[in-house]
Point group: C2
């Protein structure tokens, strides 16, 4: 089948949808921003990137504290996830608006979202200006996983975790497990 | 429910699984590497990142040509996707091993994988060394989308595209569309 050409845009899918939590160093007000422009960038040390527009409230907070937490939401939190992506922390308290609980982290100043089954504490290592977005590179400090989604040998039951998949503006659920890394060698 | 702490690792999920194609500037031999450590890093200009270990064959090829193509595979290509992640282009011709067709790109030297429904031509803008992985930042030059998965108004039918979701070592399929960006404001 022939293909149609499209000019440059963020054509990649599927990508994650995460809630990035941060805190105002002075007022101690916590904030949340929904991010789909994120990913794994290094295995050792384990590093993740989140890209944030300089105009966003979280941009300043993370720059000032030097840390953030990546919280992986479940599909049941979809309305809250969407809200945290379109509203600003300058106007509303997103923890309150979402009925989320800000839980102190172990290694960083930014709080975790208690209701999310996975929280990844990150120390900011670098900010790289790319254009519309600045990329924040965070080194993973500690990961917290809800015992409800854990399976023996430190694995995660992803059907229970039910993360949200983002396809260029559309939120999707996970389907089924179809294989594992390295299966073709067996 | 209480949570269990885990030491730093790449705890993020879901992430994309893509086939990155490249070419040897001298021999003109094309290669493919499967990458899950990738993501969107900037909207304008549209930029994507792929992280590759310096030991990988594709690392040198992309560094030398200064470009690469991100090809989004379908679930039906899962065996090929896994194979391109565990074998080296130094040992085998992955296009041949996967029965894939190397199609010339429009804007870059690296060829596209014809069988993938989406091909994103990228020009290398920066390489950032992070540790085990180097992050290659590519600026999107042109996107090709199979007419079979296109729906009116330049949208994509993601059920037809059936991209592969990667959850920390497990391949998953897509489930269902559960919403769209901004829905909570309506």
């Amino acid at each position: 089948m022939p293909k149609t050409d499209f000019p440059p845009k963020e054509g990649l899918f599927p990508v994650p949808v995460v809630l990035v939590s941060s805190i105002d160093k002075v007022t101690q007000a916590a904030n949340i921003i929904t991010i789909a422009w994120c990913g794994v960038v290094c295995s050792a040390p384990a590093m993740l990137s989140v890209s944030i527009r300089p105009s966003r409230h979280s941009h300043r907070l993370i720059k000032e504290t030097g840390d953030f937490v990546i919280n992986i939401p479940t599909g049941t939190m979809l309305k809250e996830v969407d809200l945290c992506g379109i509203r600003s922390g300058r106007d509303i308290d997103k923890f309150k608006a979402c009925s989320f609980t800000a839980e102190p982290s172990s290694k960083v100043l930014s709080p975790m979202i208690k209701e999310c089954p996975v929280n990844i504490e990150c120390a900011l290592k670098n900010i790289i200006s790319l254009g519309a977005h600045d990329m924040f590179i965070g080194e993973v400090q500690l990961i917290h996983v809800d015992n409800n989604i854990l399976v023996p040998k430190d694995g995660i039951d992803y059907a229970k975790a039910s993360p949200i998949v983002f396809n260029q503006g559309e939120y999707w659920s996970l389907g089924k497990r179809i294989g594992h890394y390295g299966f073709s060698a067996r």
